[in-house]
């Protein structure tokens, strides 16, 4: 597969407004998008630091993926997403290489992205996403 580079970093935060303010004040980040997706249990802001993108992810409740992450590990770095030309082709390529996948099919992610997650055990403990803007 062809990896274009890092699409975004995902950081888990407890309070989205505070986190957006911190990144704006300390690093000049500007908000690109913001949305609340109840079925994913997340309220998220996409912010840009220079040309680079960070997804700040706050849970909508404790019993959500980000809520459980915060309970287990506290706030911090959650995942890295690489931009690919074609998520389905990337998954096929990774599966052919024996990589453990979380998502075997592309699905709808935040901000209109097509996404799939790779298991962190396959990438030295880093939760890794492949994404394609659609």
């Amino acid at each position: 597969m062809s990896v274009r580079g890092v699409h975004h970093l995902g950081f888990a935060v407890a309070d989205l407004d505070e986190a957006v303010s911190t990144y704006a004040e300390l690093f000049g980040a500007t908000v690109e998008h913001r949305e609340r997706v109840e079925e994913q249990g997340v309220e998220a802001a996409s912010v840009l630091v220079g040309p680079d993108r960070i997804e700040l992810l706050a849970p909508t409740g404790d019993d959500t993926p980000v809520g459980r992450f915060l309970a287990n590990r506290g706030p911090g770095m959650h995942h890295v997403a690489y931009e690919v030309d074609d998520v389905r082709a990337a998954l096929a390529d990774l599966a052919r290489k024996g990589v453990e996948l979380i998502d075997h099919e592309p699905r709808h992610g935040l901000f209109g992205l097509e996404v799939a997650f790779v298991h962190p055990d396959a990438v030295h403990g880093v939760l890794t996403e492949v994404v394609c803007p659609v």
Copy 2:
């Protein structure tokens, strides 16, 4: 201060050769630099995924910063580094804003960079570095 964007991501790994191979095989990463710095207790490879840079960091022993990180948290995302025009000016700006710093003066980092670390408590749990190529 002026933040140009993300300079690199730092990932803690147990085995540097394996990690370099994984990133090459799965994401087409190429090695930019590699060095072992005994006094920092780290053997590191800087790899590029598209235009984006990842520092893969392996400890030279258990009683090192990366060794303790691995013992406590396992392999995974370790820090994010932002490129600034001037590390000293960035530290002064952050201090003026009341941000807790780990390094109050710039120091020599890996690969010839001038670096300083900001305390993760000041950045929602993310260990954050400001760097400037010198």
